[in-house]
């Protein structure tokens, strides 16, 4: 017969106490896991929205870049450039004096080294974007070219700066690439 029944009027034995504590620990573990799963799902959903916003921001910059001239020289030259060395040197791919915002840029080189922060509409979330522009080999656009070519590549990195990502292992940077070739309408 089990001891410590109500009839016996005994206090709970150590075994019962341990069993109760064990049950509570088990329940606590289940609850913690449960809330962790809930939180994780929320993070996944939020990452989806972040991805949508980051994509729209990066695509907007890409579109703005598409509207820019291929080169500072081609922006002001009305005839077709046939000599590739007439283009800006790879070492001088940067914005000129007075070009301090996207609206002031006239050629894609101006984006090299440019950084901008944008707040997503309807939220407090802010995204930072860093631009890099360089010449690439027209036969292999993954290859950096140290000399002028008629092909340039724009790399963009977009990531959330506010609110900051809490989990350092979480990948939050979206990389986007655009290749621009020189052309001229006669």
């Amino acid at each position: 017969m089990l001891g410590n029944s109500i009839e016996d009027g005994d206090f709970m034995t150590t075994g019962q106490t341990m069993l109760t504590l064990g049950a509570f620990m088990f329940l606590t573990t289940i609850l913690m896991n449960f809330y962790q799963v809930l939180g994780g799902t929320g993070d996944t959903i939020q990452n989806g929205q972040d991805g949508i916003l980051a994509t729209t921001i990066a695509t907007s910059y890409k579109e703005i870049a598409r509207g820019l001239a291929f080169d500072e020289f081609s922006d002001t030259c009305s005839s077709a450039i046939r000599n590739v060395t007439a283009l800006t040197s790879p070492l001088h791919l940067r914005r000129e004096a007075g070009e301090d915002s996207l609206a002031a840029f006239n050629d894609i080189d101006d984006l090299n080294g440019f950084e901008v922060e944008k707040q997503a509409i309807g939220s407090v979330v802010r995204y930072h974007t860093r631009f890099t522009v360089y010449y690439v080999d027209p036969d292999n656009i993954d290859h950096y070219s140290s000399v002028q070519t008629f092909t340039k590549r724009l790399d963009m990195k977009t990531w959330r700066v506010y609110p900051p990502v809490l989990d350092p292992t979480q990948i939050d940077t979206m990389r986007t690439t655009m290749v621009m070739g020189y052309f001229h309408f006669n």
């Binding site: 005994d10 579109e63 509207g67």
Partner: protein, 204 residues
């Protein structure tokens, strides 16, 4: 006496456990509904904007560079030219939003159809949105007033489009928690904003 205390203690613990489990169940159900709503609006948004984005990218395609690609530009509607079927003839594409009364059957009082027509033939509902807002900018970045006067349509350099989608049905909030001006349900929302060139021929 001690047995009685044991029973009381067991009841207290049991009650607490029962309360925790009930709370967890409620929370799980509500969170599940909210997350489902979030996921649904993200899917609705991306499927709707895929079409819009594709066509906006081709504004002015097949059009002589001197001809303005945008015909009508308002804050919630736009008509532009583009040879979307690549048959050599330029098509007229119109986007607009319908009235909220068209979807009065859903509890969400803000949702409305996003409409599209090609060459003024048969208006199609291509999605349900709660916001479809357009802004137009000049090359120097100046915001144009809407509706853009026909004399200034050729000044449009970029178009900024904002789309918001909310779920048509959402879990109701506790009426005692709803303050004045607040909505009575936990609607999920997903936003999309993009800037597009009014014409790819407009490169500097």
């Amino acid at each position: 006496m001690s047995a009685f205390l044991d029973v009381i203690a067991a009841m207290l613990f049991g009650g607490a456990l029962f309360g925790i489990i009930l709370d967890s169940n409620d929370l799980a159900a509500e969170t599940q509904m909210v997350y489902n709503g979030d996921m649904m609006v993200q899917q609705m948004l991306t499927s709707t904007v895929q079409l819009v984005e594709g066509e906006l990218r081709n504004i002015g395609f097949g059009l002589p560079s001197a001809q303005p690609a945008i015909r009508l530009a308002d804050s919630t509607s736009m008509t532009f030219l583009s040879d979307i079927d690549r048959d050599g003839s330029v098509d007229t594409i119109a986007y607009s939003v319908g009235a909220v009364s068209e979807i009065a059957s859903t509890p969400n009082e803000l949702d409305r159809f996003l409409k599209r027509s090609v060459n003024h033939e048969g208006i199609q509902n291509i999605g349900v949105v709660t916001l479809f807002s357009l802004r137009y900018f000049t090359q120097s970045g100046a915001l144009l007033p809407t509706p853009v006067p026909s004399s200034r349509v050729s000044e449009i350099y970029t178009v900024e489009l904002t789309v918001e989608v909310q779920n048509p049905v959402a879990p109701a909030r506790d009426p005692s928690m709803v303050k004045a001006g607040e909505r009575d349900a936990l609607y999920s929302s997903s936003l999309w904003q993009q800037t597009r060139l009014a014409s790819q021929n407009n490169r500097r």
